[in-house]
């Protein structure tokens, strides 16, 4: 029954019920406080090499549907839940969460007291972990967790990015805002004319591309390894640096490319893309004790004074002081711990946000950063 194991580098081990694939995986244990949205979180490439620990207790109730995945499949290494619901209920549901994990070759463990794990991570900082559904011993699991190199200093871009460049499908069906029986809050139409946008994929979420397209961009997605020259050959009107996975400090080449592009084009970055902009400017990034992972973070826009509730999923942050020294202005901060959530360059048409806009919470297309990006591009072209 309790043949699945979750082991931490500090030697603590929890046993639970296995579900999903039969497999042993490594990753950083990251707790997420969103009460809904497990499908989006599992498929968000920002969670690459994360073992996702859901703090909410009933997971899988509404199943998995065809529309809400943020990428082609599950990107998290594994899933830890207090309870996995086997029989979901929702009119859009196509399969249960266990089946989905299995299809994606990802293991899950259930029956775990995720609050205990959350408290442990809060007190000790994030931990390397091993999750196995293959009947391995406690010792072996702990050793595997200890031996893993961890996220800090790791570059996962070749796994998180796309194979090759592609044009993002901006047919109406693919980008229209979510609605329930004809009701959607964002009643405005797609913005025209379209600007030609090159998006660099560090592990992009589909919803970001959708929002971008809906907000007036014709988007072509490039793999993370793309050079500045290749982008120039494409002759975009602007560049989007996506969210993604890994330690930004371990991606110097990407920062170099970004630095070149920032001089030439209006650039907008989100999440990992925001951290790359910081690095490109020569500012520092650092690993947070246990990061921000949830849907309820208040962020103050210093320029307007207004606070909005944002969805966040980041283990790294950019350093305010070094940003200011590098010519950037911190535009948004986390109301809780004061960390940088947004920046704008003093001279260059570059800005970025650390949190995830337009997905959860928030509705696609209506958000400040995309419109601001559109205006910025308009002014600079």
């Amino acid at each position: 029954m309790n043949s699945a194991v979750l082991a931490f580098e500090d030697g603590t081990v929890y046993r639970g019920k296995p579900f999903g694939a039969k497999k042993t995986v490594l990753g950083e244990a990251v707790f997420n406080t969103s009460m809904m949205g497990y499908q989006e979180l599992l498929t968000d490439p920002s969670n690459y090499m994360n073992i996702l620990v859901m703090t909410f207790v009933e997971i899988g109730c509404y199943g998995i549907n065809d529309e809400d995945s943020e990428s082609g499949g599950i990107k998290a290494s594994g899933l830890v839940v207090a309870r996995d619901c086997e029989i979901p209920s929702n009119w859009r549901s196509r399969m249960g969460i266990g089946e989905y994990l299995e299809k994606n070759g990802v293991p899950g463990i259930s029956g775990i007291d995720t609050r205990t794990i959350t408290r442990k991570i809060r007190l000790n900082g994030s931990l390397k972990a091993c999750l196995s559904t293959e009947d391995i011993s406690d010792e072996e699991a702990v050793n595997l967790a200890r031996r893993w190199s961890g996220i800090e200093g790791s570059n996962f871009l070749k796994d998180a990015t796309c194979e090759s460049a592609y044009h993002f499908d901006d047919s109406e069906k693919n980008i229209k805002p979510f609605e329930l029986g004809g009701v959607h809050i964002n009643t405005r139409k797609r913005t025209f004319p379209l600007f030609k946008c090159a998006a660099i994929d560090y592990g992009v979420k589909k919803s970001l591309l959708r929002s971008l397209a809906y907000s007036g961009f014709d988007v072509t997605v490039f793999p993370a390894r793309v050079s500045a020259e290749e982008i120039s050959d494409f002759a975009p009107q602007c560049v989007f640096l996506s969210s993604g996975a890994g330690d930004p400090a371990a991606a110097p080449k990407e920062a170099e490319v970004a630095a070149k592009l920032m001089k030439k084009y209006p650039v907008f970055g989100v999440g990992f893309g925001h951290q790359i902009i910081a690095r490109a400017l020569g500012a520092k990034t650092y690993k947070l004790k246990f990061g921000h992972h949830g849907g309820n973070y208040p962020v103050r826009n210093i320029e307007t004074g207004k606070v909005s509730i944002t969805s966040q999923n980041h283990s790294f942050a950019s350093d305010a002081e070094s940003l200011e020294n590098a010519g950037a202005i911190v535009t948004e901060v986390n109301l809780g711990d004061g960390t940088v959530e947004g920046l704008r360059h003093r001279d260059l048409p570059t800005f970025s946000i650390q949190y995830h806009p337009g997905a959860a919470p928030g509705t696609p297309g209506s958000d400040y950063p995309f419109d601001a990006f559109y205006d910025l591009v308009g002014k600079n072209s």
Partner: protein, 1081 residues
């Protein structure tokens, strides 16, 4: 933005008496608001007619008025106090309606009072169906097909045009949907539309297409002056559309919505709060979702704090009312801190890592003849909330919290066996939504019905049905395993699914201690978790706990002296806010005295379950197992059982057997007062007098004993509160009809028979004793003669007809009884005085329902003093040694929920039926009584037509009353019998017809035509006759003042006289206290 400095004083309007749909959640929110605003340095002026509230404690506000909540009185208060602002959003629908009325009458403009939080325009937009509908369509949201009509003709035309039965009827501007319903055919529609048009103060109803069976969801959102919006909590109804949300089992957070769907609902909520224009504060928005395609429809929004917001506050730890109050004076969300984490701002959205269930509690048994089907008109009288780490766990905890005899799902107790096996009975129990439907789901599963079939019958989401099935599966596994086969895995799964040791023992057919032993062996221990608003992401400082099973215990008992206070559980008729008030006071008092207080309760509406009230709060079911665990894990030094009503008292003996130190009066004394035989000996020993009485253990026994005692007889089950199963019978025939019900009220317990003292005056005495000194708190003389439950009777403090000699005799008896019963703490004695002789009816060595009323009247916090006494202090050290004599009059009046229970007899009886109380304060009895009537609504008329019809027994007194009415200028109408007597006595009277006489116009016609201002009608038997009840129902609908006892009529005459003599004026509690201090000098 910082707080406003242009306003200095703020008027807060409370919600008045407890009624169905508006209970103590508004005391909770109002008290929070008072605290929050005074903290900011504002002068708070509070008005509420309900004395049983914490908010009307004189120290809660700067100026406190216990006065009727009507515009005329509010104008006087405003003229006197000249507040700068009025906060209308914390006093429920009553407070909101009253504020709008003050605005409409130009009173707010006249005195330059600003509405803060929500202005009149926003309130109207949110409340007026048509305006709301337009607003929703304007922002692109969907609303049900509907129409607002003002006449039956319009209604029928609309219905005939659309032909979309079933149709929902909702009267405008009524509480909890009073007078609403679902009509499946034209006949039903016609009847309900008529009823609804009558029920609406605006004579307006909304007709709507039915969304029966759709999913129902709610959102609690807040907005501040900077237009920052946050979502506090989503709530999913277990019962689908068609059952009022107040009567539904509800779950937080929503479980069967995807993130996208939830986000859309969240964004819609923000769009709505903006469009309606709530500037700052909280709102509740209700949604319906079609489970087939997800079509989302907006049902309604409340631009104020609500029952749901109180629930959301308790469910998440986010204090909505407190924050709403701060936002109303200009703060923005980001300027306020989250109390619980201290570090993080209030501008965030709570993340919870548990599941919360709310289950309503009903009182249909008190309203024989009414239909127990749950509809869109709310009928529940209370609710419980529970928290668990799974849906299964919190559902079972909630079910056992209800205190209806159910232990959860299965495992013995009420509904816990195989009570219903007949498949057609089961199907009926599923199709018809009732309070018991959840238990029928279990019966259905046990009978082998498929989950799909259950879902189809009930329209309950398959997810919930599966979860319930999961609980029943565990029950079967336990039964199969038995105690021998019970392994660690199964036991742990059962505990995590909310099964108590008692349930498991019952299913496995073994003793509880064997289960406990197994758990010890396996290491399956109860642990406590914090409600921390943030799913453990930040450190939490507020000690608000719930129990569960898991790997870590977050409870760290302190080294301080700790007293546990056991609350009253869900509100029900007979046990409500008054007892919570006492528990809160006990906590305050013991904290002041240096103890750590530990509150245990399951009722989310209360002040006692505010995390600010006690040092530690445990949101737990009030069963032996749950309470004992809290006591033991906290290493408590003592427990208080005498403040929470019958709930903790019922646990007292077993708690003591399990090593709990019950402080104050001993459980033995409490039992002695309840045990007829022991009590009889005490009465004899003290040379006191009791009505002739006997104890019957079977109905046959009762018949025999009745013969010996002689009729009339009062039948009374033992160990129940609120007069459940209590009857006055005048003959054997009547007795045979009701004796079974009396026995069923407390199964296994004897029924008491008392000689009923007809036309006796009843007196309630609240006293306090420290074991040496006993002091009378107050003596409350009933207005009605004996035979009306003391919870329903109108009362006067101090006694208005009894002589000082009699009162001295009452005092002596009180002192003797306190001494003999070794009372330490509060006691309540009911006396009856007949022909100058004093009888003891009942002694209760515990807090009574009248404690808050008495405390407010005499300006002494009795419950606080009692708590200190129980902890060992002496009255003389606490400075309370003398009975307080007040130079004014306080009248208590009760309010009744008859309008919700069509078909039930409308009358006062030994069985308590009132849900709440009001207080009328003034310097003379007539005015105080008149105020109490205005507060209880409808108030006394000062002119017009009176319908007077009394039973033969009352005819002599009716003559006197008629003379007074005639002198006061009323025109009297009577039916044959009464008319003849009046004519014989030379009093002008117009003969009118009874319904069964067939002639028209009859009295009901006159009521319908607004031709009757006052009804005095005393019933002749145990129940009013059918036609009498019809008159009463009509009066209720038309809000005609109605008096059903002859003594009530006397009091009414005095009230009417007083109102004719002078205009009503208002005086604050603080002014009364000053008067009192003046007389003390």
């Amino acid at each position: 933005m910082p707080k406003r400095t242009d306003i200095k004083s703020i008027l807060i309007v409370g919600s008045g008496p407890i009624v169905i749909g508006q209970a103590c959640e508004f005391d909770y929110s109002g008290s929070q608001a008072c605290k929050a605003l005074r903290e900011e340095g504002y002068k708070v002026i509070l008005v509420n007619s309900n004395p049983a509230t914490i908010m009307t404690d004189p120290q809660m506000a700067d100026v406190t008025y216990i006065e009727p909540l009507v515009p005329e009185i509010l104008e006087k208060i405003i003229a006197k106090e000249r507040p700068d602002a009025l906060l209308p959003t914390l006093g429920g629908q009553t407070g909101l309606n009253l504020s709008v009325e003050l605005y409409k009458r130009g009173i707010l403009d006249k005195y330059k009072v600003e509405l803060i939080g929500a202005d009149a325009e926003a309130i109207e937009k949110g409340e007026d169906r048509e305006k709301f509908r337009e607003s929703m369509l304007k922002i692109g949201l969907d609303v049900p097909l509907s129409a607002v009509v003002h006449s039956l003709k319009e209604a029928l035309e609309w219905a005939d045009r659309h032909k979309k039965y079933p149709l929902i009827i909702r009267p405008s501007f009524t509480l909890g949907g009073t007078g609403g319903g679902i009509a499946y055919n034209r006949d039903e529609f016609e009847r309900m539309a008529t009823f609804g048009l009558n029920a609406s103060p605006a004579g307006e109803i909304l007709i709507e297409e039915s969304l029966l069976g759709w999913k129902e969801l709610e959102m609690e959102v807040m907005r501040d002056c900077k237009d920052q919006c946050i979502a506090i909590c989503s709530i999913e109804n277990f019962d689908p559309m068609g059952v009022h949300t107040g009567d539904s089992i509800t779950i937080a957070p929503a479980l069967t919505l995807t993130n996208k769907e939830y986000q859309l609902m969240r964004e819609a909520s923000f769009a709505i709060i903006r469009e309606i224009g709530v500037k700052s504060g909280g709102s509740n928005i209700q949604f319906a979702l079609n489970p087939v395609d997800g079509r989302m429809i907006i049902i309604e929004m409340n631009p104020r704090v609500s029952r749901s917001s109180a629930l959301a506050s308790k469910a998440t730890g986010f204090p909505i009312a407190k924050i709403a109050a701060k936002l109303s004076v200009g703060y923005s969300l980001d300027e306020l801190k989250n109390d619980i984490t201290k570090e993080t701002p209030a501008c965030f959205e709570p993340a919870i890592d548990y599941v919360v269930a709310k289950v309503p509690r009903f009182a249909f048994e008190k309203f024989a003849g009414s239909d127990s089907t749950l509809t869109s008109s709310m009928k529940s009288v209370g609710e419980v909330m529970s928290i668990g780490r799974s849906f299964k766990e919190c559902l079972q905890k909630a079910l056992r919290s209800l205190e209806i005899g159910a232990r959860g799902l299965g495992g013995g107790g009420k509904f816990g066996g195989r009570e219903v096996t007949d498949i057609s009975a089961i199907s009926n129990g599923l199709v018809r939504p009732t309070a018991e439907r959840i238990f029928y789901m279990r019966y259905a599963l046990l009978a082998g019905m498929s989950r799909e079939q259950i879902s189809d019958y009930t329209k309950i989401d398959p997810w919930f049905v599966n979860e319930v099935a999961g609980i029943v599966e565990i029950e079967s596994e336990l039964a199969d395993a038995g105690i021998r086969g019970l392994d660690a895995d199964l036991l742990e799964r059962a505990k995590k699914a909310g099964f108590t040791d008692l349930q498991i023992a019952s299913i496995c057919n073994t003793k509880i201690r064997n289960i406990k032993k197994l758990r010890d062996d396996f290491g399956i221990n109860t642990v406590y978790r914090l409600v921390d608003t943030c799913a453990a992401e930040f450190e939490a400082y507020t000690p608000y706990y719930y129990s569960t099973y898991g790997t870590e215990n977050e409870l760290k008992p302190s080294a301080r002296k700790k007293i546990m206070i056991i609350g009253g559980g869900p509100n029900r008729i007979g046990q409500g806010i008054e007892f919570d008030y006492c528990c809160v006071h006990a906590s305050f008092a013991l904290r002041e005295a240096g103890y750590e207080t530990i509150m245990v309760n399951s009722n989310p509406e209360t002040v006692s379950t505010d995390y600010d009230t006690s040092d530690k709060l445990f949101f737990e079911p009030l069963t032996l197992e749950d309470v004992l665990e809290v006591y033991k894990q906290n290493n408590c030094d003592g427990a208080i059982v005498q403040f929470g009503g019958q709930t903790p008292l019922n646990l007292a003996s077993e708690l003591k057997e399990n090593g709990v130190n019950i402080i104050g009066t001993s459980p033995e004394s409490i039992d002695a007062a309840e045990d007829r035989e022991i009590f009889k000996r005490i009465i004899e020993k003290l040379h006191l007098r009791q009505p002739v009485n006997a104890t019957a253990t079977t109905p046959e026994d009762a018949y025999k004993l009745a013969g010996q005692i002689g009729f009339p007889i009062l039948l009374r089950p033992s160990f129940v509160l609120g007069g459940r199963g209590m009857f006055i019978v005048y003959g054997m025939e009547e007795m045979k009809k009701v004796v079974r019900e009396a026995f069923e009220a407390a199964p296994g317990k004897p029924v008491l028979l008392d000689k009923f003292l007809e036309d006796a005056i009843e007196l309630d005495v609240d006293a306090i004793s420290d074991g040496e000194t006993t002091v009378i708190g107050g003596m409350l003389e009933h207005i009605e003669y004996a035979g009306v439950h003391s919870g329903d009777a109108a009362m006067v403090l101090p006694p208005h007809t009894l002589s000082e000699n009699i009162l001295d005799e009452v005092r002596r008896a009180t002192f003797d009884l306190a001494k003999e019963l070794k009372v330490v703490g509060l006691m309540n004695i009911q006396f009856a005085i007949k022909k100058g002789e004093v009888y003891i009816l009942e002694v209760n060595p515990r807090a009574s329902r009248t404690v808050p009323f008495t405390s407010k009247a005499i300006g002494v916090p009795l419950a606080k003093i009692a708590a200190r006494v129980m902890a060992g202090e002496k009255l003389k050290d606490l400075g309370f040694t003398k009975e307080v004599k007040i130079p004014y009059i306080a009248v208590k009046e009760s309010v009744f929920p008859f309008v919700r229970f069509s078909g039930a007899p409308i009358m006062l009886s030994p069985e308590m039926r009132s849900t709440g109380e009001v207080m009328g304060l003034d310097t003379d009895l007539g005015t105080a009584f008149a105020k109490s009537q205005i507060a209880a609504q409808p108030g006394l008329p000062t002119s017009g037509n009176v319908f007077l019809s009394v039973k033969d027994h009352d005819k002599d007194m009716a003559v006197e009353i008629a003379k007074s009415l005639d002198r006061l200028g009323f025109k009297i109408f009577s039916t044959a019998g009464t008319a003849k007597i009046l004519q014989d006595n030379g009093i002008p009277v117009t003969r009118t017809y009874k319904l069964n006489e067939g002639a028209r116009p009859n009295v009901v016609d006159m009521i319908k035509n607004d031709e009757i201002a006052l009804i005095i009608n005393t019933p002749s038997g145990m129940y009013p006759r059918l036609d009498e009840n019809h008159i009463r129902q009509e009066a209720l609908l038309k809000k005609v003042c109605m008096i059903t006892t002859i003594m009530g009529a006397y009091a009414a005459i005095r009230g009417i006289e007083a109102m004719g003599k002078r205009e009503l004026d208002v005086k604050s509690l603080q002014e009364y206290m000053a008067m009192l201090n003046e007389t003390k000098k």
